[in-house]
């Protein structure tokens, strides 16, 4: 309506609003990037944690050898001696993205190292993700909500935790791809454009390339389509949004080597095909309904339904039989544990052992999405006023992601964008109401409120003024552009919107409410900056601790890996628990037995069994795997809690799952896991205990473990089959070498020892004991 009035001021305001929202988006992007740089500033520009090291190594390979070699890469340095076909088992999206970035930068003569590009990929993509959030929310509830949501997402702690500079993991680009795919879906749904539908399939392809979480998209969108059909919202736009996505998307997904035929064979994708059939049936019904008279249509319906039911049941029976014939019912373990949260802990200890697969605690919701948790319900309500195709999608998105985040803590990441969108909508709607009320009281006294066009322009001006004063909340923007969208897409909802605009709150209430909302936003910003700076920036390979005499830096991991790379042969094999596999291959460039890609449970169980066995048995296992060095992480000296002793029960559990002679109760005293003098003999004699606590008593004289807060049970012992070759400065990483077998085999030593003890001086028998191994 404002556009119909071609007045000078309206055009000017329109343009001004566009420029302003563009500037705001730019600033949001800059903020999203810069808030993630704390890790670089506080620590250094390094790759973080475990998986990013693998991705970094793969990227290095890609930039060195090219795409085809990467695709065909058979890596002989991990999972020795099985090896791993990396090209076919990795989601290549992140690697290809960073590799392409690096290539482009280099072709522009910007000589950045691969590592630098990898470190900054995540922050760059979080800026993209916030822009995608703007686009998505704009499609749902208009530009104002879009800007709010984008600003919220740019700094939501949950997302920051996975995308700080250096956190070079799949999620870094996948969240952008996820939001962007949703945006294109909603855009197609709103416009009915085949162009956007094609783009949507391509965006989906990028998502499939990037992350296993693509199954969320391919289940959520069918759910939404089904919801639309059930609620009678079927339209050709829905068909165009959905059908090309399934066909093109599935074809494209099958191109990704790691997905391949899974795209049509596993149950995760089943829903999309079922809905694909349903939407065709519905489309046919609507078509027939259009060409037949109502009576004829009724006859046709009864006919088709009766025949269709029979066919459906037959097909369904075949499908169920097929699915039921597979042991996991065609679902992968991770997906099953999503549907049944207790599945993993019951059947797959290897999935349950990963901390990010555990259900989150309540405080983690407050930590990760903060005030958004309170704004989400308001956003859901706003989505129902009125309910459109797009807003119903948003509601469905938040509902499912809340469930999934409750199952697995890492899926908080999927919840975060949904929460941001909902909160953006809620905040935007609230500001809308309050600022309109204020404006009504200040300006509206003289002007007629019924004049919709005038009203809208005023709102715009008022909002712009408001914007200037409120620096922290930059979500205000042109109501006009939003309005235009609404006119195009949701003509029916306009009426209710106009009616709603007439609701006016008292001036004081509005002012106070606005003030409180700004306060809430400020609190959120403070929390996010704190989380980014303090909680989520630690690279976890370099640890710091603050004590009364200043800052301590624990750089033991890199010390150990550097030792390995400088002091061992290139083809030597290093055994450690799988957590450190990726880092060992990437940083020390040594072959490992198991790594964080936990694809072979038996192999991991073998290492777990070795760690839980006494020295001799462990030596045999390691020797059969050609292991030269064993690496253990030990935190008892400095109090680093996530060390191998704390992970040890998982080793026992996983090892015992495959090799039943390892029994968990043997390591527990009355059901308690302990390493003090009450510990079981099995525990005190297992390799992990010995390698962790060898010579530990020499540090403080009594062997006090600062993680378990107890004195260790067995303090003085010698190693017969292993020798210590390196222990880092803070004892956090200890490296042992397997002793080679004895050069000679002694005779009946006991007898001769007894003899020498009786006749020869004790000095000689003392020296004899010293060198049992050569």
């Amino acid at each position: 309506m404002a556009t119909q009035e071609t007045s000078q001021s309206a055009t000017f305001c329109h343009a001004f609003g566009n420029v302003l929202s563009f500037a705001v988006l730019l600033l949001i992007g800059v903020m999203a990037f810069s808030i993630r740089l704390f890790s670089v500033i506080k620590y250094e520009s390094v790759i973080h944690e475990f998986d990013p090291y693998f991705n970094y190594r793969v990227t290095q390979f890609l930039t060195k050898s090219g795409v085809y070699d990467f695709w065909n890469w058979f890596d002989d340095r991990t999972w020795y001696p099985l090896g791993r076909v990396i090209g076919g088992t990795v989601y290549p999206g992140l690697t290809l993205t960073a590799g392409t970035l690096w290539r482009i930068l280099n072709s522009m003569n910007i000589p950045l190292s691969v590592e630098t590009v990898c470190v900054f990929t995540a922050p760059v993509f979080s800026a993209f993700a916030s822009w995608a959030t703007y686009l998505l929310t704009k499609e749902i509830k208009g530009a104002g909500a879009g800007l709010t949501a984008a600003a919220l997402l740019a700094m939501v702690p949950s997302y920051i935790s996975r995308s700080v500079a250096g956190s070079y993991d799949n999620e870094a680009v996948a969240i952008f791809a996820l939001i962007f795919t949703f945006y294109l879906y909603i855009k197609t749904l709103n416009t009915g454009s085949l162009f956007y539908a094609t783009l949507n399939a391509i965006a989906y392809f990028y998502m499939v390339c990037s992350w296993g979480g693509y199954t969320f998209i391919i289940n959520l969108i069918p759910m939404h389509v089904l919801l639309c059909i059930v609620t009678g919202r079927y339209s050709p736009r829905l068909y165009i949004a959905y059908a090309p996505l399934v066909v093109l998307g599935t074809l494209l997904a099958a191109l990704v080597p790691v997905v391949g035929f899974n795209a049509v064979m596993t149950s995760e994708h089943f829903a999309s095909f079922l809905v694909f059939i349903i939407i065709h049936v519905v489309a046919l019904v609507y078509y027939i309904k259009g060409i037949l008279s109502p009576q004829m249509f009724k006859v046709a319906v009864t006919l088709v339904v009766s025949v269709g039911m029979v066919v459906c049941f037959a097909v369904l029976a075949v499908l169920i039989a097929l699915v039921a014939s597979s042991p996991t019912k065609g679902w992968s373990g991770r997906s099953l544990s999503l549907l049944d949260p207790t599945y993993a802990s019951k059947y797959i200890p290897i999935i349950a052992s990963v901390s990010e697969h555990q259900p989150p605690t309540w405080p983690s919701y407050f930590m990760d999405i903060n005030v958004l948790a309170f704004l989400v319900p308001a956003g859901i309500i706003a989505c129902f006023l009125p309910l459109s195709d797009a807003s119903s999608f948003a509601v469905l998105y938040i509902v499912t992601s809340v469930y999934f985040s409750g199952v697995m803590v890492r899926l908080m990441l999927v919840l975060a964008p949904a929460a941001c969108i909902m909160s953006g909508i809620a905040l935007s709607e609230a500001f809308d109401v309050f600022t309109r009320s204020i404006k009504f009281h200040l300006v509206g006294a003289t002007q007629s409120p019924q004049d919709n066009a005038g009203d809208t322009t005023k709102v715009t001006q008022n909002d712009v003024k408001h914007e200037k004063s409120e620096v922290t909340i930059k979500e205000r923007s042109s109501r006009k552009s939003k309005k235009k969208d609404k006119e195009n897409i949701e003509r029916p909802s306009l009426v209710s919107r106009v009616e709603k605009r007439l609701l006016v709150l008292p001036l004081e209430t509005s002012v106070i409410a606005v003030f409180l909302l700004v306060l809430l936003g400020a609190f959120y910003v403070v929390h996010c900056v704190w989380a980014a700076a303090e909680a989520y920036s630690a690279p976890s390979i370099v640890l710091t601790s603050r004590s009364h005499d200043g800052l301590h830096v624990f750089d033991d991991f890199r010390e150990a890996y550097a030792w390995l790379s400088h002091n061992t042969e290139v083809d030597d094999k290093v055994a450690s628990w799988w957590d450190y596999g990726y880092q060992t291959t990437a940083m020390a460039n040594r072959t490992v037995i198991v790594d964080n890609n936990t694809w072979n449970n038996t192999h991991i169980a073998t290492v777990g069994t070795a760690m839980s066995s006494p020295e001799k048995a462990a030596w045999d296992i390691f020797n059969s795997l050609d292991v030269k060095y064993v690496l253990v992480v030990f935190g008892g000296f400095v109090g680093y809690p996530s060390d191998d002793i704390n992970k040890f029960l998982w080793m026992v559990r996983i090892g015992g799952g495959v090799f039943p002679h390892i029994k968990e109760p043997d390591y527990l005293r009355d059901g308690q896991y302990r390493i003090d003098s009450q510990a079981t003999p099995t525990m005190l004699n297992c390799l992990m205990y010995k390698l962790s606590y060898f010579r530990f008593v020499e540090t403080d004289g009594r062997g006090f473990d600062r993680v378990r807060n107890t004195e260790i049970g067995k303090k003085h012992f010698k190693l017969t089959h292993f020798e210590e070759v390196f222990t880092t400065h803070h004892w956090m990483v200890r490296i042992y070498k397997l002793k080679s077998p004895r050069n000679r085999i002694r005779g009946k030593t006991k007898k001769s020892k007894l003899k020498s003890g009786t006749s020869i001086s004790s000095k000689r028998s003392g020296t004899r004991k010293k060198n049992p191994w050569q």
């Binding site: 058979f74 020795y80 001696p81 090896g83 000679r744 085999i745 001769s752």
Partner: protein
């Protein structure tokens, strides 16, 4: 000023050089310099036949009294000797810096050792033997007595001089020539742990022998060592190919028994000369690596039709494998000819196990197909044969799966599907044309 100093250094270097060349090395495994420790220097003359046979074979013998304070086998971390002969059964401790640890370290760094014990052998000698896997009879005064296969002598003795002819069946250890005459042995017996695979009985006692103190009366209890469990002379080959000979008798090395005639009781054959000389000489040849020392070289593999060694194989590749094995003849490397050398293509377990064929010139070769399994494989040659040094070679080689473009592009069985897709495409094209322009 500097020039003469330099020349002097050079001179010194040159004088050291031959010493370096003649010393033990992987290329010339025969020992050169041998330290002989004796209880008493008179043994030098009473056992001179043994020593002169060594000298005639080119060894440098260095005789020392066992308690000589100047004994040192190691200087500046380098061993000065390649072999050690301990003919000092009664020594309680060595002179100089040598002790039991020193002797064992000497062995563990790849050097050879001959130990002769005797009745009333010292604990030092017993402990050295025990460390090598040989347990002498614990009774210090016990000797081996055999009332049925003793050596017949003029005076009816106490049957402690035994005529033993139960040799180890190995041409590698005892030479090609059969030892006809029994070996005269007078000393203590020892037993071996049957679980110990490194120690071998070179000469064992007969089933009627037992170990006791001949001057004491037989007790009702059976003796602790009896029958064929008694080993008279044992040899050990350690994992690092160091060889050890342990004998319970010092006398068997002596000129007297070397020259003595022998007639085994109950046997009509009377030999002019005992088997001692032949037995000890042949055994010492083995001990000092003049025989039975193998080396493997040039482990090669390549794809059939290529000569370059690839970095990686693909599954189902055909490959050729070859390795050269030589045997040390005492003066040069000669081809080792055997029909039982095998290669394993190994990944946690052997996927391929093939016997290598030889060209009689030291080259062993075979060819096989890489199994249809990818992973990091090893070519393994594990050759352990009685008397020979063990060969244990392995070479790592990854085997990769097919590349994405190495699969067959068009499969005949799939032609219906190709047909389906292309007809579908054509149909869609026609349908679109008709639908769009037929109005």
């Amino acid at each position: 000023m500097a020039a003469p100093k330099f020349a002097f250094l050079l001179l010194k270097l040159i004088s050291v050089l031959p010493l370096l060349v003649t010393s033990f090395s992987a290329d010339r495994p025969t020992d050169r310099r041998i330290l002989v420790l004796l209880d008493d220097l008179s043994l030098k003359s009473s056992h001179s036949l043994f020593f002169s046979s060594l000298k005639s074979r080119g060894f440098d013998l260095d005789f020392k009294r066992a308690d000589d304070p100047s004994i040192a086998v190691k200087r500046y971390g380098q061993y000065m000797y390649d072999g050690l002969i301990l003919l000092s059964p009664s020594t309680d401790r060595f002179g100089g810096s040598l002790d039991m640890e020193g002797v064992l370290d000497f062995v563990d760094s790849g050097h050879d050792l001959i130990v002769a014990a005797d009745a009333n052998a010292s604990d030092l000698i017993r402990n050295i033997a025990a460390e090598c896997g040989v347990d002498f009879d614990e009774d210090p005064s016990a000797v081996v007595v055999d009332h049925s296969s003793y050596a017949v002598s003029e005076t009816e003795g106490d049957h402690t001089l035994i005529a033993a002819d139960d040799f180890i069946q190995s041409d590698v250890i005892l030479g090609n020539k059969k030892i006809e005459a029994p070996v005269l042995f007078k000393g203590i017996g020892h037993s071996l742990n049957p679980g110990n695979s490194m120690v071998l009985k070179a000469l064992s006692a007969s089933s009627s022998s037992y170990s006791t103190n001949p001057s004491s009366k037989l007790s009702s209890q059976p003796p602790s060592l009896y029958g064929t469990a008694i080993s008279l002379v044992s040899v050990v080959q350690a994992r690092n190919a160091a060889r050890i000979m342990i004998s319970g008798s010092l006398d068997m090395f002596s000129n007297r028994l070397f020259r003595a005639g022998v007639q085994k009781s109950g046997s009509l054959n009377k030999y002019e000369k005992s088997g001692n000389e032949q037995f000890i000489t042949e055994l010492s040849k083995w001990i000092f690596h003049e025989r039975g020392h193998l080396k493997a070289a040039n482990l090669r593999h390549n794809k059939v039709g290529e000569s370059e060694e690839p970095l990686m194989y693909r599954i189902n590749d055909d490959l050729e494998f070859s390795v050269e094995i030589f045997e040390w003849s005492g003066s040069s490397w000669v081809p080792h000819v055997s029909k039982d050398v095998q290669v394993q293509f190994y990944m946690m377990s052997p996927y391929v196990l093939k016997t290598l064929s030889t060209n009689e010139k030291g080259l062993y070769h075979t060819s096989f197909k890489v199994p249809d399994v990818y992973g990091v494989f090893q070519f393994k040659v594990e050759y352990q044969k009685l008397g020979y040094t063990s060969l244990s070679l392995s070479k790592q080689i990854p085997v990769r799966p097919f590349k994405h473009n190495e699969y067959e592009r068009f499969i005949t069985t799939a032609f219906p599907y190709y047909g389906a897709s292309f007809s579908m495409m054509a149909g869609f094209f026609i349908f679109s044309g008709v639908y769009l322009y037929n109005k």
